[in-house]
C-alpha cells in the first residue's frame, strides 16, 4: 500500500531554502511568486491492507525519523489510486 509523508518547516521557523528559491524565481521572471516553503516528501510502499493501520504506522515513522519535530511539521496521506 502506498503512503506519503510530507515534512515541512514549522510556522515561524526560518526556511533559508524556501527563501533562496523564492528570490531565484523572482529573478527568473516569475514575479507572481510571493512565498516558497521547502519541504520533503517520502513515498513509502508499506506491506498492509488496512489504510488506518498503515497511516498510523507512517505517522510513527515520521515522528521517529522522517521529521525533525523540533522544527518541522508533517502530514500523512494515502493517495487515491491514479
Amino acid at each position: 500500500m502506498k503512503v506519503e509523508v510530507r515534512v515541512y518547516p514549522k510556522e515561524g521557523v526560518l526556511d533559508p531554502q524556501g527563501r533562496a528559491i523564492a528570490s531565484a524565481l523572482g529573478r527568473l521572471g516569475h514575479a507572481s511568486v510571493e512565498d516558497v516553503r521547502a519541504g520533503k516528501i517520502f513515498f513509502l510502499e508499506v506491506d498492509g491492507t488496512d489504510p488506518a493501520a498503515v497511516e498510523a504506522e507512517a505517522r510513527r515513522m515520521a515522528e521517529e525519523l522522517l521529521a525533525n519535530t523540533v522544527i518541522e511539521g508533517f502530514d500523512v496521506r494515502i493517495p487515491s489510486e491514479p
Partner: protein, 236 residues
C-alpha cells in the same frame, strides 16, 4: 595573452568559496594573470581560460549548482565554451556545468549521505583534454575531494556516449588503479569522477586539483590541470 601567459577568469558566484584558492594557483603558482568575474558580470574580461571554482553557490540550497546556472555570467561562459575556450568546473563548478547543460548528466547526494573530505585516487582516462594533456594516459593521481553531492549519474544513452567518445576523464580507483566499489567515495556510476565534452575544452570534476597544486600541501599533482590549459593555449 600577455607575454605568452594566458589570463584566467575565476567566476565568483555568491557562495563560491574556492575562488581564492584557484586564483592563488593561477597567479602565485603559475605566474599567470587572473581576474575574478562576479556572477552578474556579462563579459569575461578578456580571459583565455575560465574556472568555475568550488563552494556552495547560493548555498546549494535547492540542488548543487541549480541556482547558479541562471547567473548572468553564465551566458558569457556558455559563449566562450561554445567557441572552444577552455572551461574547467571544479566540484561545485562542475555541478554548475551539469545544471547548465554544458556537460551531460547530474549528481545526486553521496551514497553514504554524508559530506566526504579526504584524498582519493583517480585514473586518468582521457589525457588529451585541454586540462589533462600533461598527464599520462592511465596515470594514477591522488586528489582531495570535499563534497556531499558528487554521486554522478546520467541516462544510459548518455553514459554510453561518454564511454565511447572518451568523455570520461577521471575515474575513481584504488592506489593500484583498480576501479572498485570500495574506492568509489560517493557511489558515482562507473566510478566517474570527471568528464569532458567531445571537444575536450569543457572539463568538470568533483575532486579538487586546486587543493593539491603545491608541495607544501603534500601533493602538487593537481597543478598539471592548470598547466595543461596553459600548454593547450600555447599550441593553439
Amino acid at each position: 595573452m600577455r607575454g605568452g601567459k594566458p589570463k584566467f577568469a575565476i567566476v565568483v558566484f555568491p557562495g563560491s568559496n574556492c575562488d581564492q584558492d584557484c586564483h592563488h594557483v593561477a597567479t602565485e603558482l603559475l605566474g599567470c594573470d587572473a581576474e575574478y568575474v562576479w556572477h552578474r558580470d556579462t563579459d569575461l574580461k578578456g580571459a583565455d581560460v575560465v574556472i568555475l571554482p568550488g563552494g556552495f553557490a547560493y548555498g546549494d540550497y535547492l540542488r548543487a549548482g541549480a541556482l547558479a546556472r541562471f547567473s548572468p555570467v553564465m551566458e558569457a561562459v556558455t559563449r566562450f565554451a561554445m567557441d572552444g575556450g577552455p572551461v574547467l568546473g571544479i566540484c561545485n563548478g562542475f555541478q554548475v556545468l551539469l545544471e547548465a547543460g554544458l556537460l551531460p548528466g547530474a549528481v545526486r547526494v553521496n551514497r553514504g549521505l554524508r559530506y566526504v573530505c579526504k584524498d582519493v585516487h583517480m585514473r586518468v582516462e582521457n589525457a588529451s583534454t585541454a586540462f589533462t594533456r600533461l598527464y599520462e594516459p592511465g596515470q594514477i593521481v591522488k586528489m582531495p575531494i570535499g563534497h556531499g553531492e558528487g554521486n554522478y549519474t546520467a541516462p544510459p544513452e548518455t553514459l554510453t556516449g561518454l564511454e565511447f567518445e572518451a568523455g570520461v576523464v577521471f575515474r575513481y580507483c584504488d592506489a593500484e588503479g583498480r576501479v572498485t566499489d570500495e574506492a568509489n567515495p560517493n557511489g558515482a556510476t562507473a566510478g566517474i569522477a570527471g568528464i569532458a565534452n567531445r571537444e575536450g575544452n569543457i572539463v568538470g570534476l568533483m575532486p579538487h586539483p586546486d587543493r593539491c597544486a603545491e608541495g607544501i600541501l603534500g601533493n602538487d599533482v593537481g597543478r598539471k590541470m592548470f598547466e595543461s590549459a596553459v600548454a593547450t593555449l600555447a599550441t593553439a
